[in-house]
Assembly symmetry: C2
Homo-oligomer: 308 residues x 2
């Protein structure tokens, strides 16, 4: 095992992502000491019991003290408040980073609280599951998944290189782009898909002519695919939409425009328009499988539940 | 192995569903002889090579001759034309059934061509993958999956019981409902989800500010879940929408209405409304997992592609 990248790593927020970072950093020997804090005492106790940290701190500021790198693994709506709590405790030259799905707002919230000596380098691992909490984390979560860094113009090149090496050590492939572009890309690949999944799953349970029990029973015909991401953490997703408003609304506008075009094709019986559209989309799926971003096994290779 | 349910079973259409029925019927010993026909000579040759039929016929009428049960495994838009081709060849008392995702239109297309002596009993197995063609079929496709029968008021009870036993023999659990209700249920659980998946996948590949390559690269953040069903057979899905127009448009209207409400909540920063909606949808996912209709493993238990 090579030298640790950080002497002390601090994780603030110990849900799926925070706990997975702890597991993966340990696996890779990336830090001499991993300190963690979560707002909920229940989460702190669970983390202590599971033992994926070297030490559980009693406050965010305590966790950040003397850390070489502090990772905020919290909903994006809390970035400003937590940064304010830890800014004074952080040592000069330390890295402050995060894992949020929105980057522009993270910068806008955190930067005003930070002295120039702190390296704010936002990051976003494109990894997760529909499960939440410290017990959902596992060391392999980031293996072969992208992590996007959105460094700031004033960042120290050395600090950026260390954070990149850290994410590679967690198992990720690392990409860089500016925060505004990140937020547009994620609006397309993540935020609007989640919003639509929440919408269709919510609507389906709220119809007069079809019972919710029937929707559940016959969900294997397509619907169940949407329910996975519609089961994601509600607080995290509320914050994503509130903090990536413009890009989300813009992409959503395009999707509904397109949906109206398809609706019109159905109403007027324009089979050619439907066929053409349904053919194009197959190529995207192939591209995703070829890029190693999804399995090519039918139905995601999901197992059938055992027969009753 | 018990007695076969049918002496001769005829499959017209040898794609994913037709070939899977052949495999599963053989596994269960459900027919003494399985005859099949597909319009494309390439498909017929593939079926002959794979050997899942006892005999490949040269026409739909030849396949249907002397069959105790004929299953149309073709896009719903072709039901009328194919029924017209085989009606005269079918023997009195035989069952004519299908596997289409729409039932009202199947009845409207098929019934006018049939003498009273033929038992038209529409059926719809809630099973499939995103793959198509005779090589995609496998014997386990229907195991533990629902099959919905939509019998007609004039059906012979014995014929319905035999078809039910046949689907149970293929591995399915069998439910019954009327065709109009089936079409409303499937509009919710299948047709509108597919349309929305096609729409969002199509839109994402057609934006000015985000490259298609980026959408592919970062698709694991949610988008890739939609691409699976958006890779389904284009002809089949064109026909579904053209033949279940009213129910699809009605459910689609509800979903877009709801989507506009969420859009408004985002625009006005109404976090409580978003949180409440995102919490409700988790219960549906739990219900689906508890009903044995999906795996509870994170990310559908999909395997990661091997590292490059």
């Amino acid at each position: 095992m090579s030298e640790p990248i950080f002497d002390r790593l601090a994780l603030i927020g110990l849900g799926l992502i925070g706990s997975s970072i702890a597991h993966a950093a340990r696996r890779g020997g990336l830090a001499r000491e991993i300190v963690g804090y979560a707002r909920s005492s229940e989460t702190r106790e669970t983390a202590a019991r599971l033992g994926f940290l070297d030490r559980v701190a009693d406050s965010a500021a305590e966790a950040a003290t003397d850390a070489d790198c502090v990772i905020l693994c919290i909903p994006v709506g809390s970035i400003g408040a937590v940064t304010a709590q830890i800014a004074d405790a952080m040592k000069p030259g330390a890295i402050l980073t995060d894992v949020g799905s929105v980057k522009g707002s993270v910068i806008a919230q955190a930067a005003p609280h930070l002295p120039d000596s702190i390296q704010l380098i936002p990051a976003h691992p494109i990894a997760g599951t529909e499960q939440s909490g410290p017990e959902a984390g596992f060391a392999e979560l980031f293996d072969g998944r992208w992590c996007i860094l959105t460094p700031l113009p004033g960042n120290d090149a050395d600090a950026v290189a260390r954070l990149r090496a850290f994410w590679e050590g967690l198992g990720s492939d690392v990409a860089s782009m500016d925060a505004a572009h990140h937020d547009r890309v994620l609006a397309v690949t993540s935020h609007v898909p989640h919003l639509i999944a929440y919408s269709i799953v919510g609507t389906a349970s709220d119809l007069e002519t079809v019972a919710e029990s029937e929707v559940v029973k016959y969900s294997a015909s397509g619907f169940r695919d949407f329910t996975r991401i519609a089961a994601s953490d509600p607080t995290m997703w509320r914050d994503v939409f509130l903090h990536n408003k413009e890009a989300t609304l813009e992409v959503l506008g395009r999707v509904t425009e397109d949906l109206f075009a398809l609706q019109r094709a159905i109403r007027w019986g324009d089979g050619d328009a439907l066929f053409e559209r349904f053919t194009e989309t197959r190529a995207i799926r192939r591209g995703i499988v070829e890029a190693g971003q999804d399995t090519d096994r039918p139905n995601f290779g999901r197992e059938k539940p055992p027969r009753a």
